[in-house]
Amino acid sequence: MVVKAPLVAKKAQAGQFIILRIDEQGERIPLTIADYNGKKGTVTIIFMEVGKTTKQLGTLNVGDKILNFVGPLGVPSEIEKYGTVVCIGGGVGIAPLYPVIRALKQAGNNVISILGARNEKLLMLEKEIEEYSDEFHICTDDGSKGTKGFVSNVLQNLIDDGKKIDVVWAIGPVIMMKVVADLTRKYDIKTIVSLNPIMVDGTGMCGGCRVSVGNETKFACVDGPEFDGHLVDFDNLMLRNRRFICEEDEACKCAGVEI
């Protein structure tokens, strides 16, 4: 979805996110920025319809308005020339990974991209990402496209092949980022992950987005969303992301949307 938000578009950088509220009764939800165009004043967001707000977002038509749209929030990705960078995107994590890949390539890195999803239909931005990748892999859980298996299998193969990897960037479901971080820890490869906790304000005011990183409490909205994957307590993040599961179901039921 392309949103006209000139102020946000002007400042947006890879790795940042926005918070939106569709209408007066709406919840504030964070979404990572998938693309931006400062000249046109637009920001692209890609989302999976998983709850009340994203379902409702999916029903909007061209020309409709979103009541509140604030950003860009969070610290931008630290883009520099690392050498060889493996960029791993899983599911909707592929969208926010795209600007990172582009920026890394433009900074002169050798970029190896691995995209993964449950099935072919859930893959996205393959062409765009391939364009900025020196090496490009696809895998799906069911084998409907690319190799059958998980992104971590592909990464393991690269490592086994003796590829020298300087940094790994992983954005996707928490469990995927955890598996990738556990793998790279063994080989001591620096790994950056982008976290997606539940947020409210996005300005560091509520602490609802807190995550445990290296045994310190950090606020993902202002200190992140990207952190050193080897220091993140993923189990705590998964647990905190389940905080309102029952309520989300109820909100969907009341609104008559199916999940």
């Binding site: 509220r21 707000t53 604030v70 860009p72 304000d201 300005t203 005011m205 905190r240 609104a255």
Partner: protein, 461 residues
Amino acid sequence: MAVKKEKYPMPEQDPKKRIKNFDEVPYGYDEQTAIEEAKRCLQCKNKPCINGCPVEIDIPDFIKHIAEGDFDKAIDVLKSKTSLPAVCGRVCPYENQCEGECTLLKIGDPVGIGRLERFLADYERKKGVKIPKIAKSTGKKVAVVGAGPAGLTCAGDLAKMGHKVTIYEALHEPGGVLMYGIPEFRLPKEIVKAEVDYISKLGVDINYDVVVGKTISVDDLIKDVDAIFIGTGAGLPRWLRIPGENLDGVYSANEFLTRVNMMKAYLFPDYDTPVKIGKVVATFGAGNVAMDCARTALRLGAEKSYIIYRRSDKEMPARAEEIHHANEEGVIFKLLTNPTRFIGDDKGILKEVECIKMELGEPDDSGRRRPVPVKGSEFKIKIDTALVAIGQSPNPLIPQSVKDLKIGKWGNIETDEDGRTNIPYIFAGGDIATGAATVILAMGAGKKAARAIDEYLKLKK
């Protein structure tokens, strides 16, 4: 005629009923009661109450007009010093301010100055607020960051002086803590909105959803304006720093109150934002924020709501009225008690808090007796939700994003008495400068800064 020793009571909602709704607790004085209460004032020559008022309202003067039944004159006196009387008349800690200096304390209750202030503001709002004269446009522009009491007051005063003011607010609503922090039953949001309307009518523009330092930088702003006022408040929640604080069920007071007040979680599922609290809620801390949490929890259906505080009742920082109301509503106070860890089940859901008993030792830096743990006195309380309300620090976003801006040791922006920072065109005030304080101090800081900005703009040709 002897002066009546007690304040005229303000009618209130019955505690048993009110813990089931979010409507305001006290109803306020009617005209006759206000006049009677005003007549209790001795009209002391030396006006001690004014010394207790951070913005130096001429209290005996406005009270005299009320006693004479001339409410309009009374409002003029009040409004010459405060721009948010309906708010301050509800949330000021009068007992430590004006009412704490009242001569009547020698024989009984002080004059109900707060109640009279509230009465006047409500009277005026019902009648329709007069828009004051605005000075001729000066052609100067000022950006105000943050729409809390400090920012709103500064903006309003600058607009009256003829400057063009634009407010930038990070959230989707104005009011700062007045909107997201203080609950509806204590400060109806309609009242905050009316005060903001008034500021808008003075010609102030408010831009929402703009996080200064992210969406737009202070350096960008200054390209278009002549001066900047920063009133971004003390938004950063403090933690207990004990094990288990990240379990499911532990909230900062800010998250809990924001969900309920600003996002209207009490109307879930009509509103989309949820909050869940279970049956037993424990709030840590004993300031206004803590009382707000504990009382909100009752209204959301908690069967038991505890205040857990490491000092004794004498040190509780909340306003007397809040503690009184919390008591009436059945909040359970566990004083001289400090949490040591939160305990969850195998799914990471909060189940218990372990606490230790405390006793008071020698006075500490704050002059209050330091609480010390009693060895071996640990005990556990079963709880479903923990609300951490032990204070907030200044919001670090702007201090971190402006190069060379002088920052104090608590991360606050350093200013002089009038809100000047070390950068000539940047002014600041309210909680961002002082650390978490009060509405009236934030408002006072906004007023002083407006004067200092006006001076600066006059010099800067």
